[in-house]
Point group: D3
Chain length 247, copies 6
Amino acid sequence: MTWEEVDAAVARGAGIILVAAATEQHGPHLPLGTDSIIGTELALEVARGLDLVVAPTLTYGYRSRPLSGGGQRFPGTTSVRATTLIAVVSDILREFERHGFRKIVLLAHHMENQHLLYEAAFEVVGPTATNETRVMIIECPYPPGPLIEDEPTVRPPAVGLDHASVLETSLMLHLRPELVHEDRFVDDPMITDPGYDLLPIPDGFTAASGVLSGSRGASEQIGERAFDAAVQHVRAMIASEFFANSD
Amino acid sequence: MTWEEVDAAVARGAGIILVAAATEQHGPHLPLGTDSIIGTELALEVARGLDLVVAPTLTYGYRSRPLSGGGQRFPGTTSVRATTLIAVVSDILREFERHGFRKIVLLAHHMENQHLLYEAAFEVVGPTATNETRVMIIECPYPPGPLIEDEPTVRPPAVGLDHASVLETSLMLHLRPELVHEDRFVDDPMITDPGYDLLPIPDGFTAASGVLSGSRGASEQIGERAFDAAVQHVRAMIASEFFANSD
Amino acid sequence: MTWEEVDAAVARGAGIILVAAATEQHGPHLPLGTDSIIGTELALEVARGLDLVVAPTLTYGYRSRPLSGGGQRFPGTTSVRATTLIAVVSDILREFERHGFRKIVLLAHHMENQHLLYEAAFEVVGPTATNETRVMIIECPYPPGPLIEDEPTVRPPAVGLDHASVLETSLMLHLRPELVHEDRFVDDPMITDPGYDLLPIPDGFTAASGVLSGSRGASEQIGERAFDAAVQHVRAMIASEFFANSD
Amino acid sequence: MTWEEVDAAVARGAGIILVAAATEQHGPHLPLGTDSIIGTELALEVARGLDLVVAPTLTYGYRSRPLSGGGQRFPGTTSVRATTLIAVVSDILREFERHGFRKIVLLAHHMENQHLLYEAAFEVVGPTATNETRVMIIECPYPPGPLIEDEPTVRPPAVGLDHASVLETSLMLHLRPELVHEDRFVDDPMITDPGYDLLPIPDGFTAASGVLSGSRGASEQIGERAFDAAVQHVRAMIASEFFANSD
Amino acid sequence: MTWEEVDAAVARGAGIILVAAATEQHGPHLPLGTDSIIGTELALEVARGLDLVVAPTLTYGYRSRPLSGGGQRFPGTTSVRATTLIAVVSDILREFERHGFRKIVLLAHHMENQHLLYEAAFEVVGPTATNETRVMIIECPYPPGPLIEDEPTVRPPAVGLDHASVLETSLMLHLRPELVHEDRFVDDPMITDPGYDLLPIPDGFTAASGVLSGSRGASEQIGERAFDAAVQHVRAMIASEFFANSD
Amino acid sequence: MTWEEVDAAVARGAGIILVAAATEQHGPHLPLGTDSIIGTELALEVARGLDLVVAPTLTYGYRSRPLSGGGQRFPGTTSVRATTLIAVVSDILREFERHGFRKIVLLAHHMENQHLLYEAAFEVVGPTATNETRVMIIECPYPPGPLIEDEPTVRPPAVGLDHASVLETSLMLHLRPELVHEDRFVDDPMITDPGYDLLPIPDGFTAASGVLSGSRGASEQIGERAFDAAVQHVRAMIASEFFANSD
């Protein structure tokens, strides 16, 4: 997209979506960029049905938590501090405002970014309207509950310890099969959430493989259906608030 | 406690617990200090069974979110920025370390403090052990699932939109009945989580009363049993990691 | 107080007072919370005569200085950095403004908070009026000179090395006698101010007991009269600026 | 790349390269991602000859300057503050250190990132060696002087006002011809550098098209040769310091 | 001084002194640089008797307070935020440490810099010794009480509202008579300290002239004697701690 | 200057200039204050022809880079972090705005301050006009190309490795001959710029003397002519934008 095309998009009232993802271990079989890839694909597909510009994805997210992403003891997981993420997102939001965008979507595909995207938006637009800019913060792209009718175990990672497991592996088999090492699938049992975190992270606190509840059972078919479910879910939320008469 | 008493506690290997609460609207019937009161009482009771110093509670927490606490449009809700909360908690942790404490518990009684307590601890002790200080981060003092066997609807606020509702109202009836205005109980239906947040906060986005799922049905009895359940839950977690041989 | 009560207070033009205290060693005979206790009691009593909401006291203050509070070598003294205190207070001031308060009092009961409360207020309201919010900064609640006519040695700690000494001990005997260990009174001579500070803090730079000028001579009677003197002093200042026609 | 592959790379002594680019207007004919695309392609090609991991490119860079990139009046140009960029890069460097990388390359493909990458590296590793980590900062990937022997006017943008002009347009024609709008080439004369900047940016201070010295004359052939020259230049610098015996 | 001369000074164990002054209104008769001039002259004279390098004076200090310097409503008064002053001083201290200096003196000639110099030193060297660096913080260069035996009213500004008054005017008459406008002396009565500050600064809160207690009575003779008294006072403090055997 | 004189200057529409210099090694023959001295003299001389107030020079600048100033391994070089310099300059700019100045010049005499002065100005006035304040940022006081017609080698330091070399040495011979040690001139060959920086700074990466291209050949005559050339260059830029009808 050129600057003139952005200008034209603003002029006709388009929105803009920014995905905040992560560079984080996803087990022995998925790439570090899993969150960025899924998040970006999701945004592109969601945008197809709406007048929505897709900004470059943030590939570095807030620190991985041991019980939801494996934590900061894995090589390759590359995170920024909370204050840094807030600074990056609020700077970018101010730029979107300067461009003239008034419908802005922040979409997290990394549950640890929770609250921090909200904070960045709060710093920029505040609690009460002072201009027309509105920011929608979507902290989880998946609807609550099972994603697929006849696959009740396919649930979003936000619910708990599903990381690099059936859902994400299936999504990657659908979106980037060439990046999935099916020969390295892990069959670990789901680890138990003790209800707390510990720092420094003790040995054995999280799954050694980085897969928090097993990846066996993942399939391209599950991935396709889960992806469609997420696209519909996100698109419906955005459309209802920002494009009520245009969808 | 005097400084010499702290010194003695450190010398015998005591731990210390810091509650991170909030000053936040809790409907027309509960005081702004609800989170601080419950959190402090909980810590004091938990400490009774363990060698644990209770530090002064943090009464100002991270911003209230519209769908879990009503958000920053209510008068009385008095919050600090994410960066401020991280700074406060990490400064205090460094002081605990300087005193000589090696078993530190951070207990949130305000779900929006999530990630931020973790971040503060991470900034101070890091992911891998460099000295003997260990920090346990408990983001929710309630066990998952129903708190009371025969009251399946009494669930922790972290699960969703239970704010100033049956659980918290019951706890306050148990702990500080004189601060509960029973004549102002609200019978609103539980509001629906749309799956996203919006800033500025639109009119009608959250319950006008500040009660997210109704407070009728609250009772001192439920409060007592829920309090006991939470105390047992928190005490067990701390004991298992920090006082394995002393409980 | 509920949020609706805050709303009503704002509507009728009430003010709000925030005490910035400390968690700091006060010798072998006084609790770490001495500054918070005295400061809070003072604010509550001052408020009785005025339409003034009392916000939760800040229990963690700026670093203790060796020659006015003993400094950061005592266990138990738990302080925050200057930048942190400024952030906390300015965040809270912005919330008070959002609630609608236009008469705000910052009251320090910890002399090291000096300048930092001023800075926080400056960051929020600035030097010249842009709206109607006014912030009064009281860095010392005690009038200059002797507090009690016939007890010329009872002077406020701001004058020098009176920390955990006759004034504060007497105040605590008046306000919280059960927290004062009279059997641990210290009779040290007043230490001499060399005119400078040294970091790292050398051994012997401050009183080993943490009592900078002796606590003997303290009494409940002195405490009561000093408390009354401080209440009158603070109330008069606030009334003269904020409630000129209502006192 | 999976985390295990990163771990293996560290174990065998690989280096890692991070490109700091920008999202910035590049005239009517080039996409906003021009700096990111060229920088990433460059790093991937450089890495082919060396044992070098390529980290995800930073797509948001420091503010565009009016006389080198058009400045912050163009829609689409999306920049972060200086403090933010320093925070992002230093956070990432600390993660690379934690992974075990000891040979780190920071490569700017956006001249405004100058000094800020150096600062980030300085904050992490300092001026004198304390461990084995070394950071190489390359602020311009192009050698000084003409890039191509018989095309003396093809010079790197760092020299002056060549932005979205012959060099960058040619590189994009070589790397991503489908993103170049040849029908929108601009033939503006090179604007004159007055020797200073002005804020707010006056009307007419920079080229209205965003092309600072004309894009006509750009060709795929020039792009290919310039790309090769830059690859050789960057690879030689890295090899000489980090892989002295392996090239 | 050249870098080799600094290196030699470090090698022989010299100390270094940094004056933190201000650019602040000093009435109609004294220049904005009064604090910087007096502070620098003082340091140079103190250093004459000791092996002490004088670093360039910090000419921008913390905000002027209305009751001690007139406050931020006067044109010409040019101050930095508290966080900025802490950052500047701690950066410089880290550089002094890197050079090898182990005896560092911070000297304030602007009472509003109080606590902030201490904070900067604390951030760098901490409360307990980890290396040999020691920092002496002198917040007021004048001894308590009258400076001159037979001139009991000549007292340091730290005591109260003496700003641009007899003491400072006399010092300038001694040090830089050509910068003193004797024809503009002000004879205002000393303003009364109400015991609090107000922001925004109300009209009439401080002396309109900027002279807080009158400058008449100032003379070169008083200036000379006060200067000598301050030099002796500061030199004695430094000598006693840092040059015990060399004075 | 007194505050009333500043007030009068503002009233008649004067501008103000702030020099951002450095305390940095300049070889064995020039003082650490070289940048501050030259920058200040330049500003004073430039101001002579224009209605321009000269603010106190910033004597501490951003970190010295190894290839343009020798870097942070020399004793005596005393620098601040990038974030600190931005904070200092933006605080001061806000004060200039408060005073009423609308024509502000930032002049760097230390090339490492590049971008950071721009950033500070951007933070204060932004890219588009909201009030009448204009900030001119001059990052190099020397015109491009040779400064003196018949001395083609006398070029500004911004071009490359000329630090403490012929240009700066000549300027100091002209402005402060008593501070130049002619007996310590260095005849080192110009060091080669490898195209990158390395941290930690390797031994031998920069000239051991701190003189990056030799000081022999410097003379008072060259200094005088170069100084005049710089004064004319800077004055012309300022006049053209700020005093178009008054020069």
